[in-house]
Point group: C2
Chain length 317, copies 2
């Protein structure tokens, strides 16, 4: 996993070789079900993953978890590692937890989440839970890479249904109203009812599946059996569809588009001519701030030139 | 604004000319204060902006608002425009609201937010409120472009303080616990107390400013005067610092880095050789899914070749 997440050029071809071996194995038999566990910060995703994962292990599954390590964007120091947040799961022989530092998170998910899911699946983890943080856009990205989408919300947010939440809610196969404990039990029930009503207005994204909605308390371990039952039903639905091969192809195509966009950005901004022009431009802005938009335009044109100075497609590699 | 947000190549140079004229004016005198209004979806940012904006207008300000239009990421249909969400502000002569469609939002803010802030400032809007959605990364981006950072949270999330919220909270100059109404009044007070305690542990990002924290109900218009008072104090602090010129330069440099990265991505992925290779690669993946990671590697190498086939820096434009 460290090799696959490495940025070093000489690690890349080794990583690719391992990944292709795993992919060949998975092409023959892939028993994994991959779920995105998504929601705003603070809704209790980690606690939910811990509780759900333990339930899945009891049902005989091997659980692979990809989480985002909560760390500061300024100091880059993480306060609590995910292993200390998910104590039960991390002590279980049937689970594997991999944390990606928030610094390597792009648009709400890890840069190499897809590759890590491949490794986990090939290693026999058949229930994969991919934690995502974010809003519409990043949730949509993650949705494209996974088999099922679990949206975790907290009570008291239901009144915002008409707003931006729609973009997220209509992706959800299962909606979990977490924190249905102490003062929030009543509000959780209201939120559930509101989402239940709202779901009628959304066009379902999967044919033949009606999104499930439920309340639970991950901390008090109440309602986690309902959540697992919803996942189990969804897995049964997937099995019945018999579309895993097509699903994996679609997910890989989506992942390719996403990944290539990020690579493009990295390579271009590291090009010596661009870097040189950037440095010069920054100095100019310091002297004459009103030139900023002009300088951006000039760099844009330089990028154009760099890319189009080669008329014929590059030689095969 | 439409010109500045346009993607058309022949609009770009006109847009740049207008922007530079505005920038020259602002270099002479810039009376604008630019605030990021940030928070997870559902915390009531729009309602808060509406209430705060009206309060600022009463105090003699002209208010420019840049919002994100809540729209579906699948159907691309927005349910409610921001003008219908901010009815009072949009009817005021002293306010200007510009909505960016969620489809044009990258990393939690609009692609051309910086440029739009320049236009608003040059047009005399001296209080600029820039709505941002997202998690650590995007909030950090927005923080780099603005003079002050207002974090809006909702009650009941305080227990997650140790987690991912830190990355956001330490950016905040003002923390607003919104929705302090009906069932949530007590929880709002608890959240305020928890954040107040937590703020002691954060290294302040601005010398000489102690972050303010307050509760309010935007819907019931309670506590909005406190919120405005906090902004007023922060503006007084900014005036006292007398660093606006340096601040604007720093913000422009940050914006240049961010903007150029996105441009790099757009130009590279639209290059004919890359597009051709992408199409061929996608077809190969459909036939032989296990080649996906290999194909990504090949495209990466092609990008390398395209950029480095020109040995000398490109000719000046």
């Amino acid at each position: 996993m460290t090799l696959v997440e490495s940025d070093r050029a000489d690690d890349r071809s080794d990583a690719i070789a391992i990944l292709q071996r795993c992919e060949r194995k998975l092409d023959r038999e892939d028993h994994s079900y991959r779920f995105a566990i998504s929601g705003s910060p603070g809704v209790g995703k980690s606690t939910f993953i811990e509780a759900l994962g333990m339930q899945a292990i009891k049902a005989g599954h091997k659980v692979g978890v990809l989480t985002i390590d909560p760390s500061s964007s300024i100091s880059h120091g993480s306060i609590l590692g995910d292993k200390s947040r998910m104590t039960q799961l991390s002590n279980s022989q049937e689970a594997f937890i991999r944390s990606t530092g928030a610094g390597d998170v792009l648009g709400g998910l890890g840069r190499r989440s897809m590759e890590l899911m491949t490794l986990l699946s090939a290693a026999g983890y058949n229930l994969i839970l991919l934690e995502t943080v974010g809003v519409g856009q990043s949730e949509h990205t993650t949705w494209q890479f996974t088999d099922g989408f679990v949206l975790v919300i907290q009570p008291g947010a239901g009144d915002e249904l008409q707003g931006i939440k729609r973009g997220i809610t209509e992706l959800a196969d299962i909606v979990v109203v977490n924190k249905a404990d102490s003062d929030l039990v009543q509000l959780a029930k209201i939120a559930k009812a509101q989402y239940q009503t709202a779901l009628h207005f959304f066009s379902s994204t999967r044919e033949g599946w009606i999104p499930k909605i439920l309340t639970c308390s991950s901390i008090e371990n109440v309602g986690i059996d309902d959540a697992w039952e919803a996942l189990r039903l969804y897995i049964a639905y997937l099995d019945q569809q018999q579309t895993k091969k097509q699903d994996r192809v679609r997910q890989k195509l989506n992942w390719l588009t996403w990944s290539i966009r990020l690579t493009a950005q990295e390579l271009m901004t590291r090009h010596p001519a661009i870097q040189q022009k950037m440095e010069a431009g920054k100095n100019e802005i310091k002297l004459e701030p009103s030139t900023a938009f002009n300088i951006e335009f000039e760099i844009e044109n330089l990028m154009h030139d760099l890319l189009h100075s080669t008329d014929s497609p590059a030689k095969p590699t």
